[in-house]
């Protein structure tokens, strides 16, 4: 059958291959073959042929072959199976399968002869390993356990490797199902190898859901991947399922309990409860419930946030109860940062570190630290202390003998993980000693001391480097480094030299090692006074002869501390001449001068300072003073607080120069201080705290020659000049009518406060009570100033003054430092009597003379005067001309006074004729307008008075410039009146332009009468003039004209020709004095007018 099968397959393949190439015409051939095959099959069945020989193996050693019995074969059928190429390999059996040893690779012919009811049929099969399937045995789970605390399943099974002859790879497939509904939650593979022996295999799996929440089922199968086997390999069957479930205990209902997880991870909580869970919440937040088997519920938390110290609470609430758990979300420990190991004493190593990022886990979940030293294999554990700060993370490690290199690893660990930091140190290079203690100072001599201190620690093998800080008052701090060999727990000793005797020093010390790592802290400070030594120099001396010249006073300065080298107890002064040496008694310290009675011989004075240790070298000074006749007093002023003195080099001066100075106002002896300078110098700066500005000092420069001193220069000077504080005291010596002689006194030196440079003398007219000499420097013109720079001048005569006048005098002194205060005085000059007499007599004489001449003239011209000033007034009624005119006037009642053309007589000469005709008041009115066309002449001289009145109407009608000129005095006045009413007119324009246009004054009366004429003549001026309208009746205006003779009737005695008058008030608009002001001929404008016009605009 097998033959047939393979033959058929082969044929099918052939057919299949050829089918591609054959045409459809061959399809019938294929159908024929199929038919033939089927017939053959049926025949063979009928004949009892075997079929479907299949072989499988589970260990590659034995094949289990089976076949299908022929139709009709039943119980009692015997099969004889023979393997052709194997000797004696025929087996008789009654079942349809046989286990045979594995055949070698290649084809093997198998003959199976079935005997049934004496009928036999034989089948042949070709068997090859390739046709054999490898199906491993079904594995069996040895054990399935659960670690509920970690939600981990542990699975164990036997791989049965002993059954398999070859080393082979095995793939295990494990499936985990959850809940009763067998939801697949995990399908894992696990690879092992078979080693020919049985081995128990383990596999663990951690569930994302607590194992308590639901039943978990586990199954396993395997697949052997044997390279030696060429047949088909198949998975084994699944093992029988094993399951894990949790038996509820009394209390715990929510899982997992007290779990520590990483921030940001996901976690599932479940509640195992018989009661119905109503609500689940984590912290404040409610969570959706996931239903599990048997009323259990779960919640899933994603990306959990960091917990507080007490953890995050998860609570499930039922009708009557409440269950919960706490979860701690935190971080694994950060790598310890800044791990540093050092020692203070080479006995104990201190390793400190910074824990880095907080883990958010406290209490039992906190990070634990272990410090491990790899060379020695020793370790120490960190004990947590209260109130941890970053600085307090440190561990102590005891040093090991003879070990200098240490390799430390600091392990940090918490429930979420671990981390480590390492450091390799040579501990002898990481020494930071403790602060030195028991620090002491001892004297060696006056310039050296011994310092000792104690340093705890085992420094026997190293050298210590120590820094000594030396502080001296008013001096720069000094540091000295010393290297000392280390010892174990002992004191150290060093000498410090080059110190000053009798000086207070402050010492302190700190140490490190020669291979510097860190300084220790400073030790305590120690103050120490070094011992005394003999004074290094003699005192600086000077001598002065007393005022009577009998005694020599020796002065010396106290030695500075660095030269005294101790406390100066006394001084020894001695003087020696060629013959003898005289020694004075000891002078105790605070005293720095001595007086010796000497003759004028040459003596050498020596001064020695003594302290408790000894005496200083002597300071010597000669008593002799060499006279100097050529001596001038010079002046000098300091700069800042110093004064510079210079002199020429004098080769005769063999020893030194001495400058002494004193306050000039003090009495003898003049000695404030002195200064010695070497003989080769030519200048020095004198500086003293005692110098004050404004005080005069005397400086004396002495040169030393042949052991005697000669005064070379005498200088008066100020450190700084100031202004005098008093004014010079001055008096008036003499006063005349035009001069004053003033005298003043010197200002005392103390109050001058500088070199006097001069005086300033001010004077002005002024009374004591009213005049104040204010602003003397402001350059007032009425103040006269005299600057007296000749300081020897003590008087001043002021001339050219006015007699009997009070003068205010002021005197002040000045220096380069400024002006001193003023002193003032009031002086009245004497009266000038001659001038007064002349001033009275001359006017009286002139007045008398004028009176006499006037009287004579009046007498001689009395007739003319009478005619001129007091003519007889004729009676108008006797005038015929007037009578005629009267009739004319009466004949036309419409004509009024203003209509002068027909009725006004243009010229009236008043004769001496006395007439009975009543007076006509306007007879004196002269109209030049009417007259001038006839005469064109100047005002005619005569014994009559022609008072001209020039009404503007007429003037406009006769625009002749000549007329204006002929107007005379009265005309000028009138023009001025015109200008009063000509606002905004410019003088130039008036002079140049048409007189008509320039006639600013437009009497109101002209408006109704000559409007037509003006319209043509004036033109543009209409607008200007039309603005003013008299409120009064223009017809009667002329009657009250001020220049009308009628105005005299109105009880007014003021007659002002030409002065403009208000039309209804008669008040003069121009003040009378304006009549005196100069009047320009054509000028219609004046400054006064301008202001007076304003109100009329």
């Amino acid at each position: 059958t097998m033959d047939v099968y393979f033959g058929w397959r082969h044929l099918s393949q052939v057919v299949g291959n050829k089918r591609m190439r054959m045409t459809s015409s061959f399809q019938w051939l294929l159908s024929t073959f199929i038919l033939l095959y089927l017939m053959n099959e049926v025949n063979s069945q009928k004949k009892g042929a075997l079929r479907d020989l299949k072989c499988v193996t589970n260990n590659l050693q034995e094949w289990d072959c089976s076949w299908k019995a022929p139709l009709g074969a039943g119980r009692g059928t015997v099969y004889e199976v023979c393997i052709e190429d194997r000797p004696r390999s025929c087996y008789r059996l009654e079942k349809t399968n046989i286990k045979i040893a594995a055949l070698s690779p290649g084809d093997h012919e198998i003959r199976i002869n079935s005997l049934h009811d004496l009928q036999s049929s034989m089948s042949k099969f070709i068997l090859n390993e390739r046709n054999v399937s490898l199906v491993p045995d079904t594995p069996k789970i040895l054990n399935l356990s659960a670690d509920f605390s970690t939600s981990t399943l542990h699975l164990t099974w036997n791989d049965k490797g002993s059954l398999f002859p070859y080393h082979s790879n095995v793939i295990w497939e494990i499936k985990i199902l959850r809940k009763e509904s067998m939801e697949l939650v995990k399908l894992a593979t696990y690879n092992t190898t078979l080693s020919g022996k049985d081995a128990v295999r383990h596999w663990s799996w951690t569930s994302d859901m607590p194992l308590e929440c639901a039943t978990h089922h586990v199954g396993i199968r395997r697949y052997i991947d044997c390279p030696h086997f060429s047949g088909r390999k198949e998975w084994s069957d699944w093992s029988p399922m094993k399951n894990i479930s949790w038996t509820p205990d009394s209390q715990t209902k929510v899982f997992p309990q007290d779990k520590v997880i990483l921030v940001g991870s996901d976690i599932t909580f479940c509640c195992v409860s018989q009661e119905k869970v109503l609500l689940a919440q984590i912290g404040h937040k409610n969570c959706p419930l996931i239903q599990l088997d048997g009323g259990n519920v779960a919640i899933e938390i994603h990306n959990i946030s960091v917990s507080a110290n007490s953890g995050t609470n998860v609570v499930f609430t039922t009708e009557d109860n409440m269950f919960g758990t706490v979860v701690f979300a935190g971080y694994p420990p950060d790598s310890p940062q800044k791990l540093n190991c050092e020692t203070h004493d080479l006995k104990e190593i201190i390793c400190s570190w910074n824990p880095g990022r907080p883990t958010a886990l406290v209490g039992p979940r906190n990070t634990s630290y272990t410090l491990f030293e790899s060379f020695s294999g020793k370790y120490v554990k960190f004990k947590r202390v209260e109130a941890l700060t970053n600085e307090s993370y440190q561990l102590l490690f005891q040093m090991l003998p003879n070990q200098e290199m240490y390799n430390f690893t600091l392990n940090a660990r918490n429930p979420l993980g671990r981390s480590a930091s390492t450091i390799l140190v040579n501990i002898t290079e990481r020494v930071s000693p403790h602060a030195p203690t028991s620090f002491k100072v001892k004297d060696i001599n006056s310039t050296a001391v011994t310092l000792s201190w104690h340093l705890p620690g085992n420094f026997a093998k190293i050298y210590l480097l120590c820094e000594i800080e030396i502080n001296k008052a008013n001096s720069i701090q000094e540091s000295r480094n010393v290297t000392v060999k280390g010892v174990e727990n002992s004191s150290y000793l060093v000498a410090v030299d080059k110190l000053n005797p009798y000086t207070v020093y402050t010492f302190r010390i700190r140490c490190s090692t020669e291979t510097f790592w860190k300084w220790s802290k400073w030790s305590n400070e120690r103050k120490h006074l070094t011992t005394e030594a003999i004074p290094s120099k003699g005192p600086d001396t000077w001598r002065e002869w007393s005022s009577d010249g009998k005694n020599l006073i020796i002065y010396w300065k106290p030695l500075p501390i660095n030269e005294a080298n101790g406390k100066i107890l006394s001084y020894n002064v001695s003087c020696s001449s060629n013959e003898e040496t005289q020694s004075l008694s000891e002078i105790p310290d605070p005293q720095h001068k001595a007086e010796i009675q000497l003759d004028k011989n040459d003596y050498i004075i020596s001064v020695v300072a003594k302290n408790s240790v000894g005496s200083s070298p002597p300071s010597k000074i000669a008593s002799m003073e060499i006279p100097n006749d050529d001596l001038k007093v010079e002046q000098a002023v300091g700069i800042g607080k110093k004064i510079l003195l210079t002199w020429h080099h004098n080769p005769n001066m063999t020893c030194d120069y001495v400058i002494k100075w004193c306050n000039s106002s003090r009495s003898d002896p003049c000695l404030m201080d002195w200064k010695k300078v070497p003989s080769n110098t030519t200048e020095t700066i004198i500086e003293s705290d005692q110098f004050r500005p404004g005080i005069r000092y005397n400086f004396f420069l002495y040169g030393c020659r042949n052991q005697g001193y000669q005064l070379l220069r005498s200088i008066t000077g100020y450190i700084e000049e100031l202004a005098p504080i008093v004014a010079p005291n001055f008096t008036v010596e003499d006063t005349s009518a035009d001069s004053i002689l003033v005298k003043w006194e010197d200002i005392p030196v103390e109050e001058l406060r500088g070199f006097l440079r001069g005086y300033l003398f001010y004077f002005e007219k002024g009374e004591r009570d009213t005049s104040k000499m204010r602003g003397l420097e402001s350059g007032r013109s009425d103040i006269k100033v005299k600057n007296i720079t000749d300081i020897s001048q003590k008087t001043l005569r002021i001339a050219d003054l006015q007699g009997k006048t009070s003068y205010h005098l002021v005197l002040r002194a000045y220096t380069d430092g400024g002006m001193g205060p003023e002193k003032s005085m009031f002086v009245v000059t004497k009266e000038n009597s001659v001038g007064l007499i002349i001033a009275i007599l001359i006017p009286v004489g002139v007045a008398v003379l004028v009176g006499i001449v006037t009287s004579i003239l009046c007498y001689r011209k009395r007739e003319w005067i009478k005619e001129t000033f007091y003519p007889d007034i004729p009676n108008p009624e006797n005038c015929k001309a007037l009578q005629f005119q009267k009739s004319v006037c009466e004949g036309s009642s419409a004509l009024k006074t203003l209509e002068m053309n027909p009725c006004t007589p243009n010229n009236v000469e008043v004769l001496e004729t006395r007439s009975t005709v009543p007076k006509i008041e306007d007879t004196e009115i002269m109209s030049p307008v009417a007259e001038r066309p006839e005469g064109h002449s100047e005002a005619e001289p005569g014994n009559h008075v022609a008072v001209s009145y020039c009404p503007p109407i007429i003037e406009e009608e006769l625009p002749d410039p000549a007329v204006d000129e002929a107007g005379g005095t009265a005309q000028v006045i009138y023009i001025d009146v015109q200008s009063m009413y000509q606002p905004q007119a410019k003088p130039e324009e008036e002079q140049d332009s048409d007189p008509v246009a320039g006639a600013g004054y437009k009497p109101q009366m002209r408006l109704p009468i000559n409007s037509a004429a003006e319209a043509t003549a004036v033109g543009d001026d209409v607008d200007k003039t039309a603005g003013y309208r008299p409120q009064a009746n223009v017809n009667t205006w002329h009657l009250v004209s001020p220049d009308s003779p009628r105005s005299t009737d109105s009880n007014s005695e003021i007659v002002s020709f030409g002065s403009p008058c208000s039309i209804n008030s008669r008040q003069f608009l121009i003040p009378p004095k304006d009549e005196d002001s100069p009047k320009s001929n054509g000028g219609g404008w004046s400054f006064t007018n301008f202001f007076q016009n304003k109100p009329n605009d």
Binding site: V254, D258, H284, N309, S310, V362
Partner: protein, 225 residues
């Protein structure tokens, strides 16, 4: 006396009590002074547990436990807290208590609570929490001394702990953090209620002993409150 006047009087007394209790060091009940819940009767409290502002320290501790323990309406089952002395009592029973019983109950309650608090202190995870707890224990110890002082002044003997009834704090190793928190919660709650009840008790005691109260008060104040 009208109902309104009665209410007013009660309120005034409550206020005075608070002041008095404060002087005694009885607690940081300042927040509850003058609040409406303060005048609620014990009888009412025995039935329902209205939310009331907690004392500052207990509030701080409840905050440490985290939500929902610090929520005002959180009311979990007592579980392990059954052994804690209960402050709630029927109003009639409370009224019927005599001074000796009243003081004795206070003394016993605070003795137990103090013991529990000390147990709590041992378990505190952080140093800060331990310090805070230790400070409060010292204060409570002072209060206990004050009560003992009052009892001594009135001639009442101090209650002796019966053998075997010594309160202990020995949670088993299986005690989970959550159950521990539940116990802590009830300890704090009971402590809070006891402090409130003590204020009432002492107020009543003070009122009854008004004439000679000055001496008692002075004596109490001399204890350092």
């Amino acid at each position: 006396m009208s109902h309104t006047k009665k209410k007013k009087k009660i309120r005034n007394r409550a206020k005075k009590t608070c002041e008095w209790a404060w002087r005694m060091g009885l607690l940081k009940l300042r927040r509850s002074c003058g609040s409406p819940s303060h005048s609620a009767s014990l009888w009412e409290r025995s039935r329902a547990r209205p939310a009331r502002p907690p004392a500052p320290w207990t509030s701080e501790q409840l905050n440490y436990l985290g939500p929902p323990f610090n929520e005002p309406d959180f009311n979990p089952p007592r579980l392990g807290a059954e052994t804690l002395p209960r402050a709630t009592v029927n109003l009639e029973v409370w009224r019927s208590l005599n001074d000796k019983l009243r003081l004795t109950q206070n003394y016993e309650a605070y003795s137990h609570l103090l013991c529990y608090l000390r147990g709590l202190n041992r378990q505190a995870a952080t140093a800060e929490l331990r310090r805070s707890l230790a400070h409060f224990c010292t204060s409570l110890q002072g209060l206990l001394g004050s009560i003992a002082g009052v009892m001594a002044a009135l001639g009442y003997p101090l209650p002796q702990p019966l053998p075997g009834t010594e309160p202990t704090w020995a949670p088993g190793p299986a005690h989970s953090d959550f159950l521990q928190k539940m116990d802590d919660f009830w300890l704090l709650k009971e402590l809070q209620t006891w402090l409130w009840r003590s204020a009432k008790d002492f107020n009543r005691l003070k009122k009854k002993m008004q004439p000679p109260a000055a001496a008692v008060t002075l004596h109490l104040e001399a204890h350092g409150f």
